[in-house]
Chain length 217, copies 2
Amino acid sequence: MAEATEQADQITEPATESATEQGDSRRAQMLEAAAELIAERGLARTRIADVAARVGISPALVVYYFQTKEALLIAALRESETGFYASAEDLLRARRSLRDRVETLVELTFTEESKGEVQGQWGLWFDLWNEAFRHPEVAADRRALDEQWRGLIARIVRAGIEDGEVPADLDVETFAMTWAALLDGLSVQVALHDPVVTRARAEAIALDFARRELGLA
Amino acid sequence: MAEATEQADQITEPATESATEQGDSRRAQMLEAAAELIAERGLARTRIADVAARVGISPALVVYYFQTKEALLIAALRESETGFYASAEDLLRARRSLRDRVETLVELTFTEESKGEVQGQWGLWFDLWNEAFRHPEVAADRRALDEQWRGLIARIVRAGIEDGEVPADLDVETFAMTWAALLDGLSVQVALHDPVVTRARAEAIALDFARRELGLA
DNA sequence: CAAGGTCCTGACTGGCCGTTCAATCGGCCA
DNA sequence: TGGCCGATTGAACGGCCAGTCAGGACCTTG
């Protein structure tokens, strides 16, 4: 593990330098395939050969792009995670009112899989957490993303305050922290098909909490 | 289910235990070792040989007791999970007031590892969730345990209602569901060493929420 | 064209590890 | 005493799979 330049905050092309257009698209294909496979069968059961097969290339080529299996899987984890937040930002941009935005976030959180897109695949999250628990690099990454998630919540709440929809004395940071945690916790139950904490129930709880805290009758 | 209730026995390493009950104790030894190893390095990186080495036996013996690696690891996951809730019940039995009980639960949830005991090892949870996500047997087990956890919360709240500490019109089920999810979500952040959601912060949030909902000024 | 670069592959290997197996050891009982 | 049985082991087998390697196809560009 050479001490390569690690500071870049943007996760576009950290490890390999595949400068070519074709190279980049290959990379993307593999990352997507890997993410899918992780979501389906779990990181532990995802083989280089599987990824290669799904893309329709030889296993050796996968190694050619990502030197090691671990590098590939971690990159895939990062990528799809990033994608999730990116699409959250996108969705929010289209919503104007606080109510709409809150509902959008809830919906996004509990949607099994957004129309075939890789994002939001529950399986991915469990593996991400698991990996983050040990792999410090992944942990740092995850922390940053989560910070971003809470920041996003805080931002829309502050916008709500400015618009007079939310009382100005609300502790925005604490709300963001709490609500984010609540969403996470509920997600787990829903993902694991808890018979009591169904998706509908979870959404209701999450919405109710937000509305009460934010003073949206 | 259908398992004979393994009564409380070894809490840590049996110092005085020489050769009382070879059969069951061997099983227990292996399960404990397996749980430790899973917590330390993760289920995926736990080998039969590791478990054997920790117990001080040959790998073949591990297979002799648990026919397959998977069976061993899953059993270990179950066992330690069960232990967690069991000790929660124990702790609660000693507390009388609702306040104490709530605080006890919060403390239990966020304690990194209870003085060397296997329970509460964060790593275990991530692997449990991960496994539950695919392995239906584990999923069912986990669901039952979680039901038990929420039931436990509901029980102490109802006791609080009977004692007049909590307003009688509280929706106990919903509170239990919400609070349990909140605790889970916060746990994740704390386990992953989020710089913002520290253990102290998480405990404060969890306590605050419970107190407000339960009307404990 | 030759040179040199990128992309790509099939064939191979080396190690790891779950699992099997034949054999031993030590009680227990008739 | 001898035979049965559970516990235990060392050794070996065999599958699986990440990663290597030597080369080849296909593009540039001088």
